[in-house]
Structures are given as structure tokens and as C-alpha cells.
């Protein structure tokens, strides 16, 4: 049987923990705006947003239980977007 067609029973508690984590990270994203981080401001905001997206993808969208090829493809897309942003900031941070 194909791995991604199997049933995965995930305890509700896990979803509650993930939800709590997401709320905590949201508060953190608001909180860090009060700290002067200079060049790291955008980096911090994107990092926190990326962690939140990963939590949603992995647990709520069941990527954790999906087949390997999809996990690789999603990871590759994240790396690609991160590199595009990194290169863009090679201009803005050093101008």
C-alpha cells in the first residue's frame, strides 16, 4: 500500500500544541518589532513567518505523513525562495 494512502491518526493534543506554538510565534513577531534590530529586522520577521508556515505545512497539511518526493519538493521550494531573498538583500544591505 502506498505510504500516503495510509491513515494516520494524529492525537488532538498535537494540534493544540501546534496551535499554541503558532500563537506564541505570532506574539513573538509582534514583540520583536519593539526591538531595534537594524539590518536583521526583515530577516527576523521572515524567519518567524517561515517557522510558522513550516508548522502549518508539516502538521496541519500532513506533509509529515506524505511521501518522500513531496517532502523533497516542498523543501527545495523553501530553499529556492530563501536563496532569492538572500541574494536580493545582498543589494539592499550593502548598497
Amino acid at each position: 500500500m502506498n505510504k500516503h494512502t495510509e491513515n494516520h491518526v494524529v492525537p488532538y493534543s498535537l494540534y493544540i500544541y501546534v496551535l499554541a506554538g503558532l500563537l506564541l510565534l505570532t506574539m513573538l513577531s509582534v514583540g520583536v518589532t519593539h526591538i531595534e534590530l537594524a539590518n536583521l529586522t526583515v530577516f527576523t520577521a521572515i524567519l518567524l513567518a517561515s517557522i510558522k508556515s513550516c508548522l502549518v505545512l508539516v502538521f496541519f497539511m500532513h506533509l509529515k505523513f506524505d511521501n518522500r518526493i513531496l517532502q523533497i519538493l516542498v523543501t527545495a521550494v523553501f530553499i529556492l525562495v530563501a536563496l532569492v531573498l538572500f541574494i536580493t538583500f545582498l543589494d539592499y544591505n550593502y548598497r
Partner: protein, 537 residues
């Protein structure tokens, strides 16, 4: 039932009649042909606009049109050729028609979504072209819509930008469809490395379409936001940054060059082994270089912006990455030439197009290195050299591959052969016209003639005359090619299943194919370019 099975897809109208049997058909082959007819029509409009520009440049000063019209014409030429012709070009036409057949499927994964893509394409094209007929006149910004001028001009910017935005959706949906089709619908036994190279390039292209197109969509919406709501994204007067526009625009538009060229390379990779009658040299190297181009191609956009005022660090990085992306392209060229080494070459029209593709693509690629180097770029930036370079890549690369592809798959699509002598005459005239048209632009650029200029000093007169004459020769070649293909589609000799001796699956089905392509889904147990003798195809 058996009679039903052997009707070609052209005879299977479904529940509609006449033109409705085409525009409401979810058959991938009919959709591919709908794209073909639309794209060729837009291409001919683009050619006429280009020819008009060349006619104007035949002599200094005013020749046939005024400066404002000239600005509008080069913008429309770019918008039509890029967004309506070369970006959808090979994937939408040959990808739609051939991808399912080449991987042993009956259709794409989402046939209705496929038809929706075509409708969105037509809708976007109508919106973009409506800018021609509205009050303010067609846009005059160039196809790049650069800030801050794009926010200040009184011409019809918004329809052109919205049209490009809508066309992006068509591109994304086609990309999703092809990726899912390749993942889910390959025939039994067709592992990833038994898949032909044209589907491989469509796979790489699909990812670029999905990941890069939304960025230009958002950017174009930001233009609308700035023009309509005065939000300061790009205009310095409103606190914006014009270079941010260039970043966002090229983050899409450079990978878009690979949306255009990868399927072109895929078509060439199909033509060359067939006419060399030999297995392609370095199949895996070509696959890996396809994926490498698709990946590294995302990170080189800044080479369009070397003189924009970016940071030095960004300049060095983009220059280095630009040189890196040349490597996988060169690997492909090496492999194609390697395939031809000691081959028994069949000299037919598709092969001539493929061979001339190699010639013009090499000139385009090598001139690209001159533009990728920081020092020479400063001298050549925004000169006619750049125009020559990208026409050698986009028209020479994609255009020649498109012509090669249509001559290669013509018997499969229409079930008839064309007049080979006329086709070859058309090719040689087109090729001579192409070189006469664009080679002088390299010299014009190096000696300082800027691009997009209406007028010029006397010293540029000679090469401009040669270039204009080249445009006439090219059009003559084009007329011969189109006449031959249209005539042959109706009156050509009947083609059998495999007139060229190809090995990929499309040559095992009827010409033209039946509605569901295969009576039975084939089982694949050999490599796609297995040219061992006495092999059952």
C-alpha cells in the same frame, strides 16, 4: 467500437459542432492546436510590428512613422512576442499536444483545467491588446514597464499590465497540469530516466512557471496599486524604490527566459537523435543540466540591472552566477554535437532547423557572456548589442526550435507530409534573413548605437540598411514556410506512423492520433532513444 477507435482526434467532435467542438474541447491535442493558431496569429502581428520598426530605422530621421508611434510599436512588439508568443510557445503548443503521448497517457491530468488555461490566455490577450484601441493610445514604456516612467505615462498602461497579469494564470495552470501529469500518468515501466527529454524540459519549465510567475503577478498588481491608489512601492517621490521594481520584475522575467528556452532545448534533443539515427549522447547529463538550468536560472536576474545602481556585492554575485548558468547550457550543446559525431545523418528539414539552432544559439550564448561580465556590460548595456543578443537567444533559440518542432511533428499532428524541397528553401531563406537582420546589430551596439532609439547619427546608417533588408528576406522565408505548411496540411501526401524513424512513443501511435492516443497503454521497457538495429518501435 473498433471504428470509433480508429477515428483521428480531428474527427471526434464530441457533443459540439464546428468551431465549438474545438473551443470547448478538453482533448489535449485540440487545445495544443488552439494555442498554435492563436500563437501564430500573434506572432505574425509581432513580426509586422518588428518589420515596421526596421523600416523606420532604414534611414536617419523620420522615414515612415513618428517617434511616439515608434515607442508604442516597440512596446507592443515586446509585449506580444514575450507574453503571447514565446512564453506560452513550445510548452502550450507541443507540450499540450505531445506530452501525454510521449509518456504513454491518454490526456493530461486535468483536462478541464487545461481548457481553462487556453481561455484565460485568450482573455488575457484580448485585455492586453485592448490597450491599442483605447483613448490614451498603446503603452510606450517598453515591455519591461520600468518604474518610475510606467507610473507617469498617460498611455494605456493598465490594460497592458492587467493583460500580462491574467496571462500569468494561464502559465501557472499549464505548469501545474504538466507537473502532475508527469508525476502521475507515466506509462508502466517509464521510470524517470526512461522518460524522453522533451517531457523532462516541460517538467523543469513547469516548476519555473509555478514558482516565478506569481512574483510578476504581484509586481504588476503593485504597479496598479501605485497608479490607482498612490501607494509608494517604486516611486521615489512617494517613498518607494525604483530598483525594487527591477528586482521583482526580473526575478520572474529572467527565469521566464528559461520557460522559453528549456522546451526549445527539449525539442532539439528529440530532433537530433532521430535524424542522427543514434542514441542521444549523455542522456543523464542533459537531464541534470535541464534541472540545473531551471534551478540556477532563478538566481541570475540581476545581470539585467548591472547599471542600475545595485551594491557592488550584488554585482559580483550576479555576474558569477550568470557565468555558472552558462555551464549546463554548454553541456547540452556539447551533448548534441557529441550525438552527431560519427552519425549517419538524415538531411531533412527538421534537422536543418536543429543544426541552425545550434549555430545561432551559440552566437546568442557567447554574446551573453560579454553581457554577463561587469566591465563589458557597462559599455554594452542598453545598446543594439543587447537587442541582437536576445534575438539570437529568443528568436534564434526558441523560434528556430519551434520551426524545427513544427516540421518534425507535422506528420504526426496533421497526418500528412509537407513538400521537403520547399520547406528547406524556406529554411535557408529564413536563416539568411535572420543573420542579415541581427548580426549588424552587434556591430551597431559595440560602436554605440542605443536600443529603442528612433533616430541615429550617420555613421550607423550602413548596418541599419543591411539589417532592414534582412527583415525583408526573413519575411520572404516565413511566407514560403507558412504557405508550404498550410498547403500540405490539406494536400500533402499521407504520412505513416513513423516517417522519420523516431523511437519515442508518439511515433508508435496513428498519424494523426486517435482521441485517446493509445488503444492500450504501452508498457515501456527500454530507454527512449534506443537505436539498436531491428528494434521494435
Amino acid at each position: 467500437m473498433s471504428e470509433h477507435k480508429h477515428k483521428s482526434f480531428r474527427e471526434e467532435n464530441g457533443s459540439y459542432k464546428g468551431v465549438f467542438a474545438w473551443i470547448f474541447s478538453t482533448d489535449h491535442k485540440r487545445i495544443g492546436l488552439l494555442y498554435l493558431y492563436a500563437i501564430v496569429s500573434f506572432f505574425l502581428i509581432g513580426v509586422l510590428l518588428g518589420a515596421l520598426m526596421k523600416l523606420e530605422l532604414m534611414a536617419p530621421g523620420k522615414t515612415v512613422i513618428d517617434p511616439a508611434t515608434y515607442n508604442a510599436i516597440f512596446t507592443l512588439h515586446g509585449v506580444i512576442m514575450i507574453f503571447l508568443v514565446v512564453v506560452p510557445g513550445l510548452p502550450a503548443v507541443f507540450g499540450n499536444f505531445l506530452l501525454p503521448i510521449m509518456i504513454g497517457a491518454k490526456d493530461v491530468a486535468f483536462p478541464k483545467l487545461n481548457l481553462l488555461s487556453w481561455w484565460i490566455y485568450v482573455f488575457g490577450a484580448i485585455i492586453a491588446l485592448s490597450s491599442l484601441f483605447m483613448g490614451g493610445g498603446p503603452p510606450d514604456t517598453g515591455w519591461t514597464f520600468y518604474a518610475p516612467y510606467a507610473f507617469k505615462t498617460n498611455t494605456n498602461m493598465l490594460p497592458a499590465v492587467l493583460g500580462a497579469f491574467i496571462l500569468g494564470f494561464s502559465s501557472i495552470l499549464t505548469g501545474i497540469n504538466f507537473i502532475v501529469t508527469i508525476h502521475r500518468l507515466r506509462a508502466p515501466g517509464m521510470t524517470w530516466f526512461k522518460m524522453p527529454l522533451f517531457p523532462w524540459t516541460l517538467y523543469g519549465t513547469g516548476w519555473i512557471q509555478i514558482l516565478a510567475t506569481p512574483i510578476v503577478g504581484i509586481t504588476l498588481l503593485m504597479i496598479v496599486g501605485e497608479r490607482v491608489l498612490n501607494i509608494g512601492f517604486f516611486d521615489p517621490a512617494l517613498g518607494g524604490d525604483p530598483i525594487l521594481y527591477q528586482h521583482l520584475f526580473w526575478i520572474y522575467s529572467h527565469p521566464a527566459v528559461y520557460i522559453m528556452i528549456l522546451p526549445a532545448m527539449g525539442a532539439i534533443s528529440e530532433i537530433i537523435p532521430t535524424f542522427a539515427n543514434k542514441s542521444i549522447f549523455g542522456y543523464k547529463a542533459i537531464v541534470i543540466s535541464t534541472l540545473a538550468i531551471a534551478f540556477v536560472g532563478y538566481f541570475v536576474w540581476g545581470h539585467h540591472m548591472f547599471t542600475s545602481g545595485m551594491s557592488g556585492t550584488a554585482l559580483y554575485t550576479f555576474s558569477l552566477l550568470t557565468f555558472l548558468v552558462a555551464i549546463p547550457s554548454a553541456i547540452k550543446v556539447f551533448n548534441w554535437v557529441g550525438t552527431l559525431h560519427k552519425a549517419s545523418i538524415q538531411l531533412e528539414t527538421p534537422f536543418f532547423w536543429a543544426a541552425s539552432f545550434l549555430f545561432v544559439f551559440m552566437i546568442g550564448g557567447l554574446s551573453g557572456l560579454a553581457l554577463g561580465a561587469l566591465a563589458t556590460n557597462v559599455h554594452l548595456h542598453d545598446t543594439a548589442f543587447v537587442v541582437a543578443h536576445f534575438h539570437f537567444i529568443v528568436f534564434g533559440g526558441v523560434g528556430f526550435a519551434f520551426m524545427g518542432a513544427i516540421h518534425y511533428w507535422f506528420p504526426k499532428i496533421w497526418g500528412r507530409m509537407y513538400n521537403s524541397k520547399l520547406a528547406t528553401s524556406g529554411w535557408i531563406i529564413f536563416f539568411i534573413g535572420f543573420c542579415t537582420l541581427y548580426l549588424p546589430m552587434f556591430f551597431l551596439g559595440v560602436t554605440g548605437m542605443p536600443r529603442r532609439y528612433y533616430d541615429y547619427v550617420e555613421k550607423f546608417h550602413g548596418p541599419n540598411i543591411v539589417s532592414t533588408i534582412g527583415s525583408w528576406v526573413l519575411i520572404l522565408g516565413l511566407i514560403i514556410i507558412i504557405y508550404n505548411l498550410i498547403r500540405s496540411a490539406y494536400k500533402g501526401e499521407k504520412a505513416d506512423k513513423n516517417p522519420w524513424g523516431g523511437r519515442t512513443l508518439e511515433w508508435t501511435v496513428d498519424s494523426p492520433p486517435t482521441l485517446e492516443n493509445f488503444d492500450e497503454i504501452p508498457v515501456v521497457n527500454r530507454s527512449p532513444y534506443d537505436y539498436r538495429k531491428n528494434l521494435e518501435s
